[in-house]
Symmetry: D2
Subunit: 424 residues, 4 copies
Amino acid sequence: MNIFEQIESDVRTYSRSFPVVFKRAQGAQLMTEDGREFVDFLAGAGTLNYGHNHPVLKKALLSYIEQDGLTHGLDMYSCAKREFLQTFHDLILTPRGFSDYRVQFTGPTGTNAVEAALKLARKVTGRSEIISFTNGFHGVSGGALACTGNQHHRGGMGASLADVTRMPFDGYLGDGVDTTEYLDKTLSDPSSGIDHPAAVIVETIQGEGGLNAASYAWLRNLQAVCRKHDMLLIVDDIQSGCGRSGHFFSFEEAGIQPDIITLSKSLSGYGLPFAVTIFRESLDQWSPGEHNGTFRGNNHAFITAAAAFRHFWSDDTFAKAVRRKAEKLRSGLQALIQRHGARDLILKGRGLMSGIECPNGELAERVVRLAFSKGLVIETSGAHGQVVKCLVPLVITDEQIEFGLKVLDQAFNQALSELSQQAS
Amino acid sequence: MNIFEQIESDVRTYSRSFPVVFKRAQGAQLMTEDGREFVDFLAGAGTLNYGHNHPVLKKALLSYIEQDGLTHGLDMYSCAKREFLQTFHDLILTPRGFSDYRVQFTGPTGTNAVEAALKLARKVTGRSEIISFTNGFHGVSGGALACTGNQHHRGGMGASLADVTRMPFDGYLGDGVDTTEYLDKTLSDPSSGIDHPAAVIVETIQGEGGLNAASYAWLRNLQAVCRKHDMLLIVDDIQSGCGRSGHFFSFEEAGIQPDIITLSKSLSGYGLPFAVTIFRESLDQWSPGEHNGTFRGNNHAFITAAAAFRHFWSDDTFAKAVRRKAEKLRSGLQALIQRHGARDLILKGRGLMSGIECPNGELAERVVRLAFSKGLVIETSGAHGQVVKCLVPLVITDEQIEFGLKVLDQAFNQALSELSQQAS
Amino acid sequence: MNIFEQIESDVRTYSRSFPVVFKRAQGAQLMTEDGREFVDFLAGAGTLNYGHNHPVLKKALLSYIEQDGLTHGLDMYSCAKREFLQTFHDLILTPRGFSDYRVQFTGPTGTNAVEAALKLARKVTGRSEIISFTNGFHGVSGGALACTGNQHHRGGMGASLADVTRMPFDGYLGDGVDTTEYLDKTLSDPSSGIDHPAAVIVETIQGEGGLNAASYAWLRNLQAVCRKHDMLLIVDDIQSGCGRSGHFFSFEEAGIQPDIITLSKSLSGYGLPFAVTIFRESLDQWSPGEHNGTFRGNNHAFITAAAAFRHFWSDDTFAKAVRRKAEKLRSGLQALIQRHGARDLILKGRGLMSGIECPNGELAERVVRLAFSKGLVIETSGAHGQVVKCLVPLVITDEQIEFGLKVLDQAFNQALSELSQQAS
Amino acid sequence: MNIFEQIESDVRTYSRSFPVVFKRAQGAQLMTEDGREFVDFLAGAGTLNYGHNHPVLKKALLSYIEQDGLTHGLDMYSCAKREFLQTFHDLILTPRGFSDYRVQFTGPTGTNAVEAALKLARKVTGRSEIISFTNGFHGVSGGALACTGNQHHRGGMGASLADVTRMPFDGYLGDGVDTTEYLDKTLSDPSSGIDHPAAVIVETIQGEGGLNAASYAWLRNLQAVCRKHDMLLIVDDIQSGCGRSGHFFSFEEAGIQPDIITLSKSLSGYGLPFAVTIFRESLDQWSPGEHNGTFRGNNHAFITAAAAFRHFWSDDTFAKAVRRKAEKLRSGLQALIQRHGARDLILKGRGLMSGIECPNGELAERVVRLAFSKGLVIETSGAHGQVVKCLVPLVITDEQIEFGLKVLDQAFNQALSELSQQAS
């Protein structure tokens, strides 16, 4: 028995799908210790938008470490933090109309950013109820978990899941029903049993929930309901942000302006733990140290994030390239659907956060297992694991997209054939 | 207005105490961008036990990055993770009787490890109540925050703070009272109103709570009460672990064996975000992926942690040196107390987690401010900020300890004189 | 200032609508101390189905008191309790297919019965979540209040409102939408964020919520969803039971069989405090004394309830008469609607739990105030107080119905005229 | 199988201890249907302070019913309510310094009064936390249950038990420890983990909890802590009030003035369901109808309560007689303890709420069973059922006290002898 199986907790999951030991990685390519190569259609579940170990970021990081740059400094001022704040402000926030938003460095992973967002919303409004949505995923620490839909993660948490009201996401009640109207109705009805919430938290594209993309109209209606009922709008852009949708923020095309935004995953650009919560200046009602965390200043991440902002977001070249590749990927997926079962397979998602919904989890599971055997690292999502999810690095090459699509095509072919044999 | 003040949230705190911009750091020394040098008696609030940018760890990290070693891999197997697991098992767990404990990689900061511990305890026992202690600090995400005593952090969290019962820590009810007897009585009394808890969570030395060190007898009694009432014992060793007490685990001398242990802060050794929760094999009842997190595999941290285990924990040389330095520091603090007010000042803590309790927060605050002006980075802790806390890097030199003690001596002198002038 | 205004809490409400002092009452007639007479279209909010001080019940009660019959006996056996149980079993439960249901004597008011029902459902299933509906009203003690929709009653109750998920009642999402399908979908979806509930609690006709009558098909679908997802179905028949719908239980025509039923209000028949919770024998998993209450054996109420069962429910004469009067009342209301605004006024409710929904609370309020001035005691209900609610005693005479309808007609006429003058 | 066993829920409890069917009752005497007579040392668990069916109250009630006095009237004004309010104000409140307290008619049983008290305290303070005490009993509806210590009643209630912090009652931490100091310390310590509470709820003599009488000094200290920390003091006087302690309110001798007081049980004087919550005028911040309940106006109870006030509380004759009987009873119990085991038996309680604590529940249980066989109705209380509780009617005759003491003496004699035989 190897040391992994010997002492790592049974909670480990990806190592079950990919039973190899990875050693090196570059761009969209993963290499195992025994020399096998894989194309990465998982990208750290959206953490590696710029691919593995991007050379520009790597160079900046190495230089910083070599000079004994401050690595850990709680939330003290550092040259690296200044560089992050300045480039974030100049290249990301200001061009998108968020120049006066405040940046809070939270604990270094998404759930920490969500916790800060929820706590701030409750503090500022003096209200405790939060609206979250069916199939939403916001992390697994107590406060965030209460907003997360997935029962698998929620089991046994008891009262700490209180103070959240679940509402149907866009499309949940069928095509004709605008679920923001139901939300509006319950909030307008003093006997609906729904207390006046502090905030709504929403993903514009639900990643773990199965690549459910909210329509822009629905997002605008949601913002309107928030304004009407004096609730804060929190967009959890942890998985869909940092360019994945084809824009830095996933909600840019919808034209909304959330009050609070959480970012993490690809924020450092290099796969380093890093998260921030940003919000309107007027909401910055924290007292000093009221919310804290040991790793709220990851200086290595400051360095790589700043390098990534300069390299990818100084103009719109990169975003345009992402949108072009998204079109290429989605066309390929659509063609695959046409070939293998237009009735049963559904194209999901938006931008480079797209995939195929299968009629059940068994097919999707089989597809991703077969794909792995053919050199593709890819995973499922959705309540029943029924969605084959393509979270490719945004820097992926056309050839790598084509390779992935070909592998998926073969995998669907084989999986459908096996399942039909099994059924007969 | 600089970019920090312009857009960083008002929640920032250490930058208020230390209004300089740090650039580089080495061992126990911090350097600002304008060339000032400080001795570090804060050590990232216990995150930098091996000092800043330790050369052995730095070399390993640089080499790994240069070779494009996998940086981010969710919880996939990697060579770096294997190295961490193997050294952790061989050099830390096995020699201390924990060879069969399981290791869960949680989100990369302490609060994530605590969340995992609480959720596992609740899942395994099927009960929801957790016992935590007055002045305990376990993090600020929802589940952990419920166990944290500090109101400043808890404000407005509503129901998500449910399912935790607070008990008095060792000494809280005065010298004659063993507070584990009160705990035992309430649990033996079916009408005490305290439900049968899943677990007790405790720090052996409360860091944020004011350097309150539980006696070894109290810890043993606490373990006995846990066994008697079939509750799990969780030791949160995030701040007091990794050698700070003079042993790797802070509870080694007490001779107890916790069911679950949380580690973070100095675990990576280099200040990188990293946390694990370890527990008895029999408690490893997680189903795959039941608890997750984007950054639960920080490969950079694996590399530096493994290097640190090899460098510092291959034999007992380091631990002995820590205990010797602790004696030196504590003697110095005791002498200072004798000089400045044996009646009002109290030596707190244990090992290199020691400090001086002042009669009020005003004096302590003044002392640390004056110390900073004299070249010492140091902070307060405790409910009223009344404890001057010396969390020095364990690799600190004797000269640096002496420098720090001298600065503190001067600072106390000056502060007491100022306050007495003010009063008259 | 009289003693009422001097020391009764401002929470008093009906005395504001009816600023007179009542002295005596008989059937559907109320008499004040200064000799004024009113017809009662309120009936103690459904507590006086057999009218005030019914002579048959009065005689039984007087005789019992005169003989020093046991008045208060906790839950000890008494002759009066035996009489209640036997007649309840023989005349009510057995003919309706509930012969093996168990009877729990709870605290003497509706909310106590609901608390017992919820606690039993949670205990038996080992689950804590309860589904309740928009505009539902189940009482104001902590557990029941959590299921109650009305914010006015819920203000400031914090965490004690946890563990309840609100679902849209029949019709809440518009005419085309069967809201039990939404419930079914969320329960079938492991990522909906709705935990597996212990039970659903529902009123078949929402009294306080505005006389919303669930369709029989919806009730059957609701029962089917409960069976499918292994949840208990609790019907709160406190206001709609004891004959008000035209049958003893309000759900008889729907053909469903709830697992748990709460009864109170008209159960004693004489307006005495009394409540029971009844449930399938298999659910009777209480241990002795696990749920208690000082007044769970109101022997006076046993006597009057048994007398009422014998007098009204020995055959179906009474129920038929109720249905005939309901038809008369509802035809009258419908005619009134035709006369005064078929577009804006809506006939609500079912049986002798009917009324008129106005476009706003202002009109309804004005109508009931004017009606009082003309000799009719009547009140509003609904989230906005927009429904004029006719909860007449079931023993009301045809003449009294006609009188009430005439008064309402005049009141609507005058109120609409006043409001239209005001608007112009 | 009789109808009781056939359909009454297994939750029934007193009928297990007293397996007879009671028919009539007078004063301290109970009569079964087969003609057996018992002396009542239970008094409806404190509900029958004036004995069963007191002739003065009976006469008033019969007269009221015969004249068709309003029985049920929600919270409408009635002649009967006026009579209650006036006599309560003139004979009870004013002489004791509560002339300006407001009276809220709540649901008709103790738990409803407690719910109103808690909700009001939370509303007025805007805070949710309530302090309650070990072994406290305040009822079994959701809000009150959260304050109740007994696990037997609390099982499975989940989150609805949130927002209550338990503190040790007087004596719980041993003789030397004033537990109000612990309360004061936690409230003064911003890191104790105890949030600023809305109120403290306390019984001056814990009835169900085992006849634990708080010392007057402790009660005064508790009031001082409440004033210091701006918390409301709620005295739950449901079981210990209405004269049982030798004064109308149980706290009169302690000289404290609670902000809120709950009364029920013996308030009607005749065993009829009735409860009120009274509070300082400044706390009467309810809006109309904000808290309601079907049976908050039990006019029969108004009549008997007013008659009881006039008959028993027009001067201090009755209270003096109670105190004299209490002395007689307690001397008798003390003598019994001397005879049967001064080392193991402890006199508990105060006034006519006194009893004997046994070393275990088995002895106490055996005593009360034997006593019943000898003609005495009496019960146990306490966390382990270890206290033989004498809740005699306050109108009990000296002969009946002597009879009861004699029966208890024999029962202890026989029980101790049986248990010692069993042990050998």
